[in-house]
């Protein structure tokens, strides 16, 4: 308990926001942390969303995706990072070790978002999709106007899970020299400065909570009207809907809408 108070005290020491014994202040570390998370999230979305939509729309490739996702989840993050740092050369203009870090984070971030994307699409009532096709929507229009809006809650659920995972995992990049909020943890451990270590942990947790909270708001916001009122009660009682909801990590749409 004392340590937690000391951690907060460390955070609320104004000087620590701009500089610490190691030079990096909280603001700097926070910025680096967010940039690294943001870039990783960007590439995760770039890869996971199209693949997830493809699987969800066509129903093809689901088995392979699950296997690969499980493999990615099982990867030892730190081990992989150390190996990649050895094999991926630095590129001019990009900070050293940046690319290996991002590669690892993206690999780690993909499974949850991928699952959210295809589970979101799969949760949409087949008859609704069939009807959309029968009135003359193209496959692209079905995806855009029917599957994405109706699956949005689960898709954002996947985004939420992935973002949380990235925010917390980016912490470990400090172990290999990358500045992030994790720097305070590793520095604190290295110098037996436990208040600083605790401060780092608190900052990471707080950031994760804030991002999760924001996305929770977004998640409510994306549930289309008409679906949130009664109509989706019926939809969620189908075995398909329940299974799809369970497949995603993150909070399923049934929570108090």
């Amino acid at each position: 308990m004392d340590l937690i108070i000391q951690g907060f005290a460390w955070i609320f020491t104004p000087a620590h926001w701009t500089t610490t014994v190691f030079g990096t202040g909280i603001l700097d570390a926070l910025t680096q942390h967010l940039i690294l998370t943001g870039i990783s999230l960007f590439f995760t979305i770039l890869i996971a969303i199209p693949i997830g939509f493809y699987i969800g729309h066509t129903g093809r490739g689901r088995g392979i995706a699950i296997i690969l996702s499980n493999v990615a989840r099982a990867l030892p993050t730190l081990g992989l990072l150390s190996v990649l740092i050895l094999f991926i050369p630095d590129v001019a203009g990009i900070p050293s070790n940046y690319i290996p870090n991002i590669v690892v984070f993206v690999l780690l971030g993909i499974p949850a978002l991928l699952a959210g994307a295809y589970a979101g699409l799969e949760s949409v009532d087949r008859q609704t999709i069939d009807a959309a096709r029968a009135v003359g929507m193209t496959e692209w229009q079905i995806l855009q106007k029917v599957e994405i809006p109706l699956g949005a809650a689960l898709i954002v659920g996947g985004l939420r899970a992935t973002s949380l995972q990235l925010v917390s995992t980016v912490t470990i990049s400090s172990l290999l020299g990358q500045v992030s909020l994790g720097s305070f943890i590793s520095n604190g451990v290295a110098t037996n400065d436990y208040p600083q270590m605790m401060a780092g942990a608190i900052l990471v947790a707080a950031l994760a909570l804030i991002i999760d909270g924001l996305l929770a708001v977004v998640q409510r916001f994306v549930v289309p009207r008409g679906v949130s009122r009664g109509a989706n009660d019926r939809r969620n009682t189908t075995a398909r809907g329940r299974k799809a909801a369970a497949a995603t990590q993150g909070t399923p749409i049934t929570e108090g809408i």
Partner: protein, 301 residues
């Protein structure tokens, strides 16, 4: 005119849903496919808008092979109404009705104006335009489904058991509305049902199907009732059980000159006018049936 020319459909799992089916569906009339569950009705219907492609054979609309028409374009030109309405739950009634118009790039204002008019056409109050489908009754949803099917002013309207999920009273209303629409709008309606009474009520041409969409009998309701082509047809239309062979009840006296009719089982089936003790005769053409229904469709869901 829609023409099936030796059409077969073999699903990938080996089910022969349609086996060498040939038929001509005349324009501006209602043709009903009727048969028990799994006999291939839906498959037949969905081949007309290429939701299902035949394994062999061709389907022509106005003598043009539909395989040559791009499915999306074909579907936009054919109305489709299904059992569960199939409305988009996240779109307001008005947007659902306007879907096809907006897809075909009709200006928004015009599309909405037409959609509102269509609500009138199918007997829905315009105030429902801004509701979501989940806020409507089943019968109202079906009407919206019909309005959506009519939006692009298609010549052909496909209806797959559209009234299967509503209660009998609403169903009777919707059936009457369908007949009114057919009279007023002069569409070619292809209607699927497993209810023989509904088939006889709505169909100018009724096609009774057996498994594999084999035609057991084809004709007007009167022809089929008068001369069932086989035992299968007879039992399907209920003639065999005597349900449709009615006799005047000797026991019960009705009001005035009416006589009570009973079926072979002795159950009351209706009354018939018999002025001066003589049975009245009617004109058994579809026209007369539609007209008599015109007066009795005041109800609204």
């Amino acid at each position: 005119m829609i023409e099936f020319k030796s059409v077969s459909k073999l699903y990938p799992d080996g089910t022969r849903a349609v086996d060498d089916f040939s038929v001509i569906i005349p324009s501006r009339k209602t043709t009903v496919f009727v048969g028990s569950s799994g006999c291939g009705k839906t498959t037949l219907l969905r081949m007309i808008n290429r939701m299902v492609d035949p394994t062999s054979g061709t389907i022509e609309i106005d003598s043009r092979d539909i395989a040559q028409t791009e499915p999306v374009r074909l579907r936009r030109s054919i109305g489709y109404v299904m059992q569960n309405s199939g409305l988009l739950p996240h779109r307001k009634v008005i947007d659902n009705v306007a879907t096809v118009l907006l897809l075909t790039k009709v200006p928004k204002a015009e599309a909405y104006e037409r959609a509102l008019t269509l609500l009138d056409t199918v007997g829905l109050d315009r105030v429902l335009a801004n509701r979501y489908p989940g806020e409507l009754s089943g019968g109202q949803q079906q009407r919206v489904g019909v309005a959506r099917g009519l939006a692009a002013d298609p010549n052909i309207l496909l209806m797959d058991e559209p009234f299967g999920a509503v209660d009998p009273i609403v169903r009777t209303e919707l059936q009457a509305e369908t007949m009114r629409l057919q009279r007023e709008l002069d569409k070619t309606i292809v209607f699927v049902t497993h209810d023989i009474d509904e088939a006889f009520l709505l169909g100018d041409q009724v096609i009774i199907l057996e498994k594999g969409a084999r035609i057991a009998q084809k004709g007007t309701p009167e022809e089929i009732l008068a001369r069932p082509a086989s035992d299968f047809v007879a039992s399907f239309i209920g003639a065999e059980r005597g349900k449709r062979r009615l006799t005047v009840s000797s026991g019960v006296q009705a009001n005035g000159d009416d006589l009570v009719l009973v079926d072979a089982g002795g159950y009351a089936a209706g009354v018939i006018a018999a002025p001066d003790g003589k049975l009245a005769t009617g004109n058994a053409s579809p026209k007369s049936r539609s007209v008599s229904n015109k007066t009795s469709q005041a109800g609204d869901a």
